[in-house]
Amino acid sequence: MNEQLINVPMFNVQIDGVWHRFPRGTRVIEACAQAGTFVPRYCYHKKLSSPGNCRMCLIEMGMARLGPDRKPELGVDGMPVINWMPRPQISCAQDVTDGMGVRTNSPLVEECRRGVMEFLLINHPLDCPICDQAGECELQEFSVEYGSASSRFLENKVKKPKNVELGPRVTLDDERCILCSRCIRFCQEIAKDDVLGFVDRGSHTVLTAHPGKRLENNYSLNTVDICPVGALTSSDFRFKMRVWFLKETKSFCTSCATGCNTLIGTREDVIYRQTPRENDAVNSSWMCDYGRLNFGYIESERRLLEPRILSGEKLVPVDWPTAMAQAAAQLKHCQGLEVAIIASGRMTNEELWLTAQLAKTLGVGWIDIVPRFGPGDDILLSEDRNPNSNGTRLLGITAEPGAQLPAIVEAVKSGAVRALLVLGEDPTKLGLSLEQLKELPSLIMMDILSSVATENATVVLPSFAFAEKRGSMINGEGRLQRLNRAVRAPGQARDDWEILRDLIQACAGTNGIGSVEDVFRQMSETVPHLAGLSLSKIGDLGVHVMEVNESPAPPYTPASHDIEEEMEHQPPGRTSK
């Protein structure tokens, strides 16, 4: 930013009578925003091109008056004299110029806005109470300031198609569409999938996709986010919850190494939706549909709700102290190469650090995580589907994820490993058969969902999903980001770091950790990259902590541990198999 300030010329711009300075290249509408004046808009989106079609951002504009010497004439205040244009101008498509004048609150501007509001509403259904967009609709928002309480429109409205499935995840109500073309531009410019367009003409213009090529790209739901009205809705979310009841928690997506910043919308411990949160260092304003909808498993019927231990032939529910004592006893029974830990690239830094401490305490001989790859794209989706591979590297779990894994599996198969601690992974997917797992004297599993493996474990420790806990991860670019708790976990599930801390305590006595902040503090004291940081200091937008080697990601092989399993728990919207 500072560099820019030095190199870019600064322009004087008068906004509502007050002179400000802006760097060259600033859009007028953005300059107004920086000066504290919000100019209403529908079609303008700062991440997309400006077609200037909604006409809501009309303002009065003037340029510096040039004297005979082609230099700006200066007024008594020493500032340029402004030549005001007679006609209102849009502020979304023009950059500031030196000596420009802008009026955003003049009677003409107000009149323009009222006029455009009226035009937008005459053919728009006024059934706001049953519209899914209500509460986050920009038509509603600007109606408060520029709308009229009554309508002069005595004619029949133009009828258009309603409830159109534009694709597997997006539903369109054409009558609500104000033809701002944000979605079309998004598909062309960001998703690089030119599938949306307008058909017919004039007031009868209709947004649609060609029947033979629907809106089914992996970024389709971003069109719903940027739709300023209730035209495009998420087939998954629509009519599930009024948005004003949603509590929004800042978090990030854990479905791949990109770590798109998100808002998790919840009510009473139920997640209703995830939406992208702007972070230009990570995901701009977007996220992929795969990550966005990948939260249904949190409410799965297969959630593990209580700790269980193997008693005789059966897993029986027990209380936490019993389970921890049992786990610790089983772990302490073995030593060195007899113990293996399979951790996960989906664990937070705090959990990974505690895992490393536990491994050290027990003198564990084997430790690794399960690498996880899928097809990526050039937009946001990373081939590395583990959100915290870099955390596992930084915290010394593994130098190269998966490098030790085959050896661990062989050691389990050969019986050399007698105690296997699995954290959030499924060992049956690593080539270990159920029989081989059953042979293990102790199989301690910390997980959120039950699986064949947990059903055959010796100790089962139910833990938290990403939306239920606080913690940090390091994305593929080396950026430290923070998860915040959006919902409470079901049953007796416990936060992963607590389980790990208790295990360490049960094995080696007290360690002085009382909160996840304590974990971070201790971790930051030992890991130089994190020095001086705390969970609060990470902030909502994260901190870059790690230089990441530009080595290409390993090629995707479908045979590797695939991610299809989670997909089963996804909402019905996703059908693109």
Binding site: S50, P51, G52, N53, C54, R55, M56, L58, R87, P88, I90, A93, Q94, E111, C112, G115, V116, E118, F119, L120, I122, N123, P125, L126, D127, S150, S151, R152, F153, L154, E155, N156, K157, V158, K159, I178, L179, D194, V195, L196, G197, F198, V199, D200, R201, G202, S203, H204, T205, T208, A209, H210, P211, G212, K213
Partner: protein, 659 residues
Amino acid sequence: MVSTSTHVPAELEQKMDEAIARYPHDRQRSAAMPLLHLWQEHFGLINDEGVNWIAAKLGLQPINILELVTFYPMFRQGRAGKTHIRVCRTLTCAMGGSYRAMENLCAATGIVRNHDTNGMHSPVSVSADGNFSIEFVECLASCGTAPVCMVNDDLHEHVSPEHAANILTEPKSGLVRPAHPLEHRLVFKNIGRKDWTTGIDCYLKDGGYEQLRKAVTMAKTDIVNEVKTSGLRGRGGAGFPCGVKWSFIKQDERKPVYLICNADESEPGTFKDRYIIHEDPHQLLEGVLISCYALNARTAYIYIRGEFPEGAKILEHAIEEARAHNFLGMNILGSGFDVNVHVHRGAGAYICGEETGLIESLEGKRAYPRIKPPYFPAVLGLYMSPTIVNNVETLCHVKHIIAMGGAKYAQLGRTNNTGTRIVCVSGDVQRPGYFEIELGAVTMGQLIYDMAGGLKEGQTLKAVIPGGSSAKVLRADERFKLKEKQPDGSTIDREMSLFEIPMDFDSLAAAGSMAGSGGVIVLDDSRDMVWVLNNINEFYAHESCGQCTPCREGSLWMKKITDRMLLGGGVVQDPKTLTTVADNIAGRTICAFGEACAWPTQSFVQKFPEEFASRATKPAPPPLPPEYTSQELLEQEQIPTLPLTRDPGWEKAGASGMI
């Protein structure tokens, strides 16, 4: 290369490849409209397969093609009859009885018209036997011979509404008109001549292409300067000085420069370019070529409206003839200058007359005008390259400027209103037609009474729309205050009647209207101004591209209000609503269409308040539920009936006085 179950004959595909070759190799999308025309000519409609096939052929998405098919009304997704009839619906033809002609044509062909008005495009109705189909179309640019119809590709003029069916059997008729003594024919010198043909030999015998020969020996800047000196103002509507426009193009421009000839003549009331294209194509071509040379434009496109299929063929033939004489092609006339001219057909969208809309259309997109700034054509025009868009008549004048010299040309007409221009008179006059006049040398009165033969028997003048239907209407009994420039440079105010207004740019602007495209529509005292405005409003509602909010919503709203007023449902607020809606459009849209559709309403309501008031007498009804008419609600019995406190007086509120 493209798989489809419809067999695309090799011959057709070859034509398509030729069409694609007219555009830069990385701009194949431009060929979308030519390909759609070819497909429709061959298969009779553009079905889904056509959409997919063309999209694949051009490396586009099917939605890109579907967007075009639904935007341009000439593209049909359904099959038309063997004989397809287009009846012009716009003002002058409607005044001449085209609605009755439509009824009679339907009766004669056994067509039951589908009156679905909610869809934007007037639907095509087909007779049961599939032999005939009919549709209303907007202005066919032959208002001087109204009413007109097209039967397949042939224009039929002076259609008798009562005997409209005759057009199905009679050959089309031509119009021959000698020049009126008050005329000063320059561009129209050869129009209407009995001994004149469109062939190049005829043109050459008459001294054709001499100016091109002369131009290629001149320095490019000299030509631009001659045009500047001439004071030539654009004849398309805005009247922007042509030389100034040309000087926006840098002589050392590195990007390719394009010249586009705007032959999308479609402003209701205007029918001048039609005659140049159909009767004197080489004059236009010579003007285009001189302009290309002056601007260093190696490629020119003539964007001709889709409703001129014959004109397109004539121009294409003229281009081939000119190529054979080395007037265009490589190294023209040994000058070392290469230039190519291509014809690009529109498909029925008035908005393509707007220069940036035209450019978008030429790029193979919906004709959505571009925002200016930043997309000034001279900087970021066709393919984001510097582009000059000139009207047909303007380009023809260039030839005469080279012939006469800019200074001599500038002596024609008046200061700032130089040269001649073609004025088209239509409507309620004895002899409608085109007249080429020296600007300012003829008054409105002379034009209407001397040249156009005055009003019809027993009628008096009520109003004049002086510059195409978007110009503000002038009332016959209005008094105008015009500034008149004195020889010493001072100006004095002179009050004058409508008849005294000189026909030039500045005088008509001073009278509160505009010279526009030169289409003078005369309305006599038999005309109902609400009806006239409604006809104009329907045109603009139909032609609004729908891109920006005020015009998209406002144009249809105004049409619905005047519709209702005509049906007897006018409420007292209507005139005020009309005016404020128009006020909210004008000046707030992307392109000048906003003004074009607002000015008629603003001026009609302002200047004929008594007529609008007499049709707006009912108290405003209570607002209706937005989604349903009261009729629908009554039929569905979904709401309890309540007695009204007052009679809404509006037929939609139900005869029983109950809602």
